[in-house]
């Protein structure tokens, strides 16, 4: 018997619980997301200028910038700093590519105790796997559509 059936599910109670929910601080959350997200992008722009100056361009440039930011994301995760940023910044630290790096590194560290093969390696994509799967799938879809257009 699950709580989802009508007999068990007490709608009044759920309504009452919802009304007791502590209020989300919309403005504060958005402001910190804007600030941190913007800052990470500005750092990305800095590397973009530097590498452009070094002679990179096009896809190579974009790739190199994301590699550097991914490295920084992984490093800060390893040092135990990224989760502290993430606690306050919300989407500001999740959405940039560093957040993707964080979602790959954090399970890799966490499951290290279960061994390097079934722990670190196999669990590495527990969160980020979804991004790869949907990214590749939608990318292939776009490619096929463009091919037949």
């Amino acid at each position: 018997m699950t709580g989802k059936n009508a007999q068990n599910c007490n709608e009044n109670y759920l309504k009452y619980v919802k009304q007791l929910d502590p209020p989300t601080k919309h403005f504060k959350n958005c402001l910190s997301a804007f600030g941190v997200g913007g800052l990470i992008c500005t750092i990305g722009q800095f590397f973009r200028f530097m590498l452009e100056y070094a002679g990179l361009s096009g896809d190579e440039l974009a790739g190199a910038v994301s590699v550097i930011l991914i490295f920084l994301g992984c490093l800060l995760t390893g040092l135990g700093v990224y989760d502290r940023i993430g606690r306050h910044a919300g989407a500001g630290s999740i959405v940039p590519i560093t957040g993707f790096a964080n979602s790959v590194t954090s399970p890799a560290l966490e499951f290290k105790t279960e061994g390097y093969i079934y722990g670190t390696a196999a669990k590495m994509f527990t969160i980020a796997g979804a991004i790869i799967v949907y990214g590749v799938f939608s990318g292939v879809l776009v490619g096929i559509i463009y091919y037949f257009l």
Binding site: M1, T2, G3, K4, N8, C9, N10, E11, Y13, L14, Y16, V17, L20, D21, P22, T24, N29, T77, G78, G80, Y82, D83, R84, I85, G86, R87, H88, A89, G90, S93, I94, G99, N102, S103, T105, S106, P107, L109, E110, F111, T113, I127
Partner: protein
């Protein structure tokens, strides 16, 4: 004797000794000065958090047995459980002892389930001395129920913080200041809450159900108790419990205390307070029992609450079934 779902213990088994170990964060709260061992390092000198949890539980049991001036041979059974899959901490801790072990799983209400089963075994004449113990660890619970520790995600304001700690008590037929008078068995209640971050709201109906049945079966009122202590409802859950009880004509706001609500000093990033099996185990086996032995509280009703969910069930969108077992304790003085 039994009335409704409440067991009345004729011999009134006694709590002979108790011991609690808590982590560094818990040390700063109200229980810090009452716990027997406080850890400065959450690893407890082990290589994994699961091992640390197991060691805490094992040491809590060992300490309780020593404080009772008993040896392994005197203990008839260890009743223990924890939050991890296949209750590994409890079973692995039981390796260290020469007495039999009964594994329990009742999530965060394992402490009161262990106490009531121990009392029933002793009252029935099947055992002389039993140990009831449980514990939890923030890092191991976080990995099992939520996300990797280093993942940068925000905690919703309804969430609670799993307590790092373990507590155990020796319940015995002859000696002890605190008596277990009766116990009300819990029923699994599910009012359809699906939000895994809002355990307080999920568990409050179970606690209210058990408390009301207890008052009815024992012909008592909330005023008859010095303290009604619930497990880990947190600040939000406690408020819901008071409302639910008030609706049915019981006013518990005077003497209700929640272990989760009091365990941490500053409720800021823990939001609603502590949770986990270790929460009620540590608070009961340090603060509450010490105060009861000292005569500050004479009659206490302890109702630990547990949310019986798993990551699989919540992933499949199931709501959270919850349970609460109540134990009535009285101090001789």
């Amino acid at each position: 004797m039994k009335k409704g779902n409440t067991l009345f213990f004729e011999t009134q088994p006694k709590i002979r000794s108790y011991a609690a170990i808590c982590g560094s964060k818990e040390k700063e709260g109200v229980i810090g000065s009452y716990a027997d061992i406080t850890l400065s390092d959450d690893m407890y000198g082990e290589s994994t958090y699961e091992k640390a949890e197991c060691k805490m539980l094992s040491n809590a049991v060992r300490l309780a047995v020593e404080k009772a001036a008993l040896t392994d041979a005197d203990i008839d059974v260890l009743l223990s459980g924890d939050l991890l899959n296949q209750i590994i901490s409890a079973s692995f801790a039981a390796r260290d002892f020469q007495f039999p072990f009964l594994g329990l799983y009742s999530a965060c209400s394992t402490m009161s389930e262990g106490m009531l089963l121990a009392a029933a075994l002793i009252d029935g004449g099947f055992a002389e001395n039993c140990v009831a113990a449980t514990g939890s660890h923030f890092a191991s619970a976080e990995r099992q129920y939520r996300y990797p520790l280093e993942l940068g995600c925000t905690r919703p304001p309804q969430s609670q913080w799993t307590v790092t700690g373990a507590g155990g008590c020796v319940i015995s037929a002859d000696k002890g200041d605190i008596r277990i008078v009766n116990a009300t068995l819990g029923r699994v209640r599910d009012w359809g809450v699906t939000d895994v971050n809002n355990m307080g709201a999920a568990m409050a109906p179970a606690a209210a159900d058990t408390l009301m049945r207890h008052f009815k079966d024992t012909d008592t009122l909330p005023e008859d108790y010095d303290m009604i202590i619930t497990g880990d409802l947190g600040a939000l859950g406690s408020r819901i419990l008071k409302d639910l009880m008030w609706e049915k004509g019981y006013s518990i706001s005077e003497n209700h205390v929640d272990c989760g609500e009091i365990i941490y000093k500053v409720i800021e990033d823990e939001f609603q307070g502590g949770s986990g099996a270790g929460c009620s185990a540590v608070v009961m086996n340090s603060y509450v029992f010490t105060k009861m032995s000292a005569g500050l509280y004479k009659r206490v009703l302890f109702a630990a609450t547990g949310a019986l969910l798993s990551t699989v069930s919540s992933g499949q969108g199931e709501s959270i079934p919850c349970i609460s077992h109540a134990v009535q304790l009285e101090a001789d003085l």
